[in-house]
């Protein structure tokens, strides 16, 4: 019969820790709603940077949107850009400091709406930056209005009867769009709602960071996320809704991988 240690004996020895919050996230409470994928996305990026020991060599660019305060949570050098202009700011930073790791962290209202021009041209120029794109199909921060990425027939504050594609247009699959541009090197779409998906997303983020060292072009990782406040659901319901509705339209997986 083996000896079974008590709870106190296990948790008092720090060598027994198999998982703890990365030190690259500050102690500030995240400003996101309960269950929001932004928190997991922040944590994964910071975990990878910690594991690669890049804290001193990383410059992040925060967007406008729910994640506008990302610089408050990520304990690295950060710059906050004007709405949609994060890829342009990151371009300037990377050209001034080519040896730094530069990334942008943007939502769909920032990257796929007001910042479409900056995004497409940064991708087309093949800037050696990494773009993390969190897509929840809605303008979460301003109260759940329709975004370019809103699904057909999806109800939002400004499309209360569902998005009618005849009058409101079709959703923009910007990740597929940039994958066709010659300037992108690695394009992937992931999600962070289950442990398996979190592990896959972390691998994609690792690749996107490693590939930047090769100077072969822009790396683009989309994270399909929930917006339970904007979708008017509980976190668990919104994850189920995301699996049933978002994933058929935004299929997960690597879209462009280096040959």
């Amino acid at each position: 019969m083996s000896y079974i240690p008590t709870r106190e004996e296990i948790i008092e020895d720090h060598d027994n820790v198999v998982y703890e919050r990365t030190c690259l996230l500050t102690d500030n409470a995240l400003s996101y709603c309960p269950g929001c994928g932004h928190g997991t996305a922040h944590r994964l990026i910071m975990e990878v940077i910690e594991e690669m020991n890049l804290q001193a060599d990383t410059i992040g660019v925060a967007p406008v949107g729910c994640s506008v305060l990302a610089y408050d949570f990520m304990n690295i050098d950060m710059q906050q850009a004007a709405h949609g202009r994060a890829p342009a700011v990151a371009t300037g930073i990377k050209r001034l400091y080519p040896n730094k790791f530069v990334f942008t962290y943007q939502g769909d209202g920032d990257l796929a709406a007001i910042g479409t021009g900056e995004t497409l041209h940064a991708c087309n120029r093949g800037e050696n930056i990494t773009v993390f794109f969190v897509n929840n199909g809605i303008y979460g921060m301003t109260g759940g209005q329709m975004a370019p990425t809103t699904l057909p027939n999806m109800k939002t504050a400004t499309s209360p009867f569902g998005r009618d594609t005849e009058t409101m247009g079709h959703p923009l699959k910007i990740t597929e769009l940039v994958s066709h541009l010659p300037g992108t090197y690695f394009v992937s779409r992931q999600s962070v709602h289950t442990p398996a998906n979190v592990r896959k997303a972390k691998k994609a983020i690792e690749k996107a960071i490693q590939y930047q060292k090769l100077n072969k072009g822009l790396c683009f990782v989309e994270i399909v996320s929930n917006c339970n406040s904007g979708w008017k659901m509980t976190p668990l319901e919104s994850n189920k809704w995301m699996e049933e509705n978002m994933f058929p339209f935004y299929p997960l997986g690597d879209i462009k991988v280096p040959k």
């Binding site: 083996s2 709870r7 948790i11 020895d13 998982y19 919050r21 996101y32 309960p34």
Partner: protein, 79 residues
């Protein structure tokens, strides 16, 4: 007989009660407490000794509120 034993420690002030950790726990160790934290959220808590330290709850937690510990149980030799 389990060969590992895990424990979780929830930072109750950081937890926002989203319940994402509850369905991913295969041992049904983690559940929502009836108590509230200072922000008024029902926080997650460990309810039994079946935890095997798989870290599933911690890696889906958006707020990074869960720390996971794991020890290997040593077999004592019987002479």
């Amino acid at each position: 007989m389990a060969t590992v034993k895990g424990e979780i420690v929830v930072n109750t002030e950081r937890c926002k009660g989203c319940e994402l950790c509850v369905p991913v726990c295969k041992e049904k160790t983690i559940a929502m407490s009836g108590n509230l934290n200072s922000k008024g959220y029902h926080f997650a808590t460990s309810t039994n000794d079946d935890c095997n330290g798989c870290t599933n709850c911690a890696i889906v937690c958006p707020d990074g509120a869960i720390t996971v510990y794991r020890v290997k149980l040593k077999e004592e030799k019987i002479n």
